[in-house]
Amino acid sequence: MSDPVILFFILGLIAGLSRSDLKIPGVLYESLSIFLLLAIGLKGGAALAQNNPSALLVPILVVTFTAMLVPVLAFLIAHYVGGYERADAGSLAAHYGSVSVVTFAVGSSYLTRLSVPFEGFMSVFLVILEIPGLLIGVALARWSAGDTRWGVLMHEILAGKSIVLLVGGLMIGYVSGEQGLASISPVFFTLFKGLLAIFLLEMGLVTAGRVADLKKSGIFLISFGVIMPLISAAIGIVTASLLGLSVGGATLLATLFASASYIAAPAAIRMAVPEANPSLSIGASLGITFPFNITVGIPLYYAASQWLLGASL
């Protein structure tokens, strides 16, 4: 709880709720997200360079496959339990099927703080998991409508800012190795947590702005925003134990599964499923799931990983 990074989020939340005139300029927000994406990519790439990337093939296939369960479950719950129409249920599925880069960053900051080691290639999963859940969500929303321009959509996602920066960072990190990155590491590594703190201040402000939406959205959506990440995290931890990941790796995989996208998914859904109500899915992912994950979820996933993987030793 006393990770200062989280305290910045809470400060932003309080400032927003008390209607402070504090505003993080939009450009600073964009600049910081460019920074975070590049930094995570670079770090992952440098870690990959120390491994044999081909050894990742099987884990990637397994993770991709189990991760697909998340949007399907999310759709079923939202459609049949929550009573949402296909469009909205599909939109929720896409958001929860994709991942949140900042939640991942907070998770790795949490582990670093506790000195819990984790596999360096986790950020490869981050990249891989961003896309399939999104596509499944769109497919479920569009089922039988049959007028989706998949080509345009794929381009929108693959050439989207987050994929370009993450993959670009990964490749530069992989080609350069930790040595080669030495000259740029004061910016991308040393400053990482401090800039993440400023980013989370902004996230707090944005989340505060979502609280009004939440009041309208009712009890189902709020429960969904808490229960869905718990289900996904459970799938993530089981997957991690299948793959023999460390406790730290399992925590991060659970965090990834549990996290819901609020950057890539909203943009893609707005284009592919315009009849979905965006305040529903962003409200849930940003207003509930994001704060839940970074405050309560991550420590919980860590405890669960310790318990399960400790037991399996």
Partner: protein, 111 residues
């Protein structure tokens, strides 16, 4: 003064920023010779859009064109975007300098 000015339509569209690419390229396809975009924020039927966050920002698109093109752009907006997107549109008569600048593409598309 009026001698040098020709009357044209100025269409102003205020909408969510993710439509920038879609609407401006549609306008050019229809035959508008250009467009101008600036960033905006605002509030309307869809609530507050304060631009504090990219997903939450508006843009303001201006298109100068003749009446025929204007009609087709308004048609497109109504058919394709009005039902699902945050959007407001208004049209004004304005006098433009150098009207020939706004014609070449228009005449192409009509010819």
């Amino acid at each position: 003064m009026t001698s040098r000015l020709s009357v044209r339509k100025l269409i102003t569209v205020i909408c969510e920023s993710c439509l920038e690419e879609a609407i401006t390229s549609a306008a050019k396809e229809i035959g508008a010779s250009g467009y101008t975009v600036s960033d905006a924020r605002g509030s309307g039927a869809h609530g507050l859009r304060d631009g504090s966050w990219p997903e939450n920002a508006n843009i303001r698109i201006e298109i100068l064109c003749d009446e025929a093109i204007a009609t087709r752009i308004l048609d497109l907006l109504l058919e394709t975007y009005y039902s699902h997107y945050t959007m407001v549109t208004f049209v004004t008569d304005v006098g433009v300098l150098r009207p020939e600048k706004f014609q070449h593409r228009a005449s192409q598309s009509q010819g």
